[in-house]
Subunit: 188 residues, 2 copies
């Protein structure tokens, strides 16, 4: 079963309280829609301050959520000098501590994760693609640096766009570009 | 068949003429031995200047060779703003153009590659591990972000230390550390 790849650079999700702490009473503003219905990249960016170094201009994704989460790659961990566990989005168990700096204020909290490899699905996609009851899959990637990635979790939402989301480490290791096609080969 | 992983950060091999152009008549000096017999990291470093950005302190590896080659990752390509093909060491066909700056001089030449995933072998290792006549293999990697990498070339030398060499993109995608153990699962 084939599907497209979306590549996620480091980014930030914010809850309402943290957003207000960082940006004050200014409204969150959309820059562009993302492939997942209702999700968008904002004009707003923050600084992610690690133990050794920082990243400027880290994009905030909207809409606001009920948790604050900073998603980075393992390469980013080495650059920042911070540790982060591999977690499904929203699971901040043992998340790394990170400082987020906005134009108005800053916060330091346990919000730093490496997102699991995941595929966005909804009930309809699960049914159509014979993925009902499946927790995770393996995905075959073609090309000059081909291979297979395991532990790709299915991530449910009300309405999804069927797409594999990888971080920049996975994408660059396999020389993948946004919109490339890959194949689900094993279901668990 | 199990073997250890060695992770290669960006680095430079120089031929004698280019070394003299960059460093003058100063001798190349060893900082520390590498795992491959006779290979070493030098005290000498260069600046790699790309189209958009540069890397300082890029390590020169010794001894000098009969070709000049700059090995980087795909992530490094994006950072520098330069393209590089995936190539076995020494194959500079269509290599990317790059500027190398030393303390005495600088050179610009087609020397920029992403090294293929490779395993160092010699005649004895091939015999002992039943790898005679094999060009490339697939390797299984365990862990939280597990998977399989294909197109791992066997690289022969007179005397080798049996080890898989990966760049930092592959290592970080699979959360691998120097000295971790992986497994050859397919031979072609």
């Amino acid at each position: 079963m084939k599907l497209n790849v979306g590549i996620s650079n480091r980014h930030v999700h914010l809850n309402n309280d943290d957003y207000k702490m960082l940006f004050g009473n200014k409204e969150l503003t959309k820059r562009n829609d993302l492939t997942q219905p209702g999700m968008y990249a904002c004009n707003e960016t923050v600084i992610i301050k690690g133990n050794k170094r920082s990243f400027d201009n880290v994009r905030v994704l909207g809409p606001l959520r009920n948790y604050t989460q900073v998603e980075i790659s393992k390469s980013d961990c080495y650059y920042l000098g911070n540790n982060a566990p591999v977690r499904n989005s929203g699971d901040l168990n043992d998340a790394g501590e990170i400082t987020i700096i906005g134009p108005v204020g800053e916060i330091t909290k346990k919000a730093l994760i490496i997102a699991t490899r995941h595929i966005h699905v909804d009930k309809n996609i699960r049914k159509t693609h014979n993925l009902e009851g499946i927790e995770k899959v393996s995905v075959k990637i073609s090309g000059e640096k081909s291979g297979i990635i395991d532990n790709v979790y299915l991530k449910d939402s009300e309405e999804a766009f069927f797409e594999l989301h990888l971080d920049t480490d996975d994408a660059n290791a396999f020389l993948l570009n946004q919109g490339d096609t890959v194949e689900i080969i094993e279901k668990n």
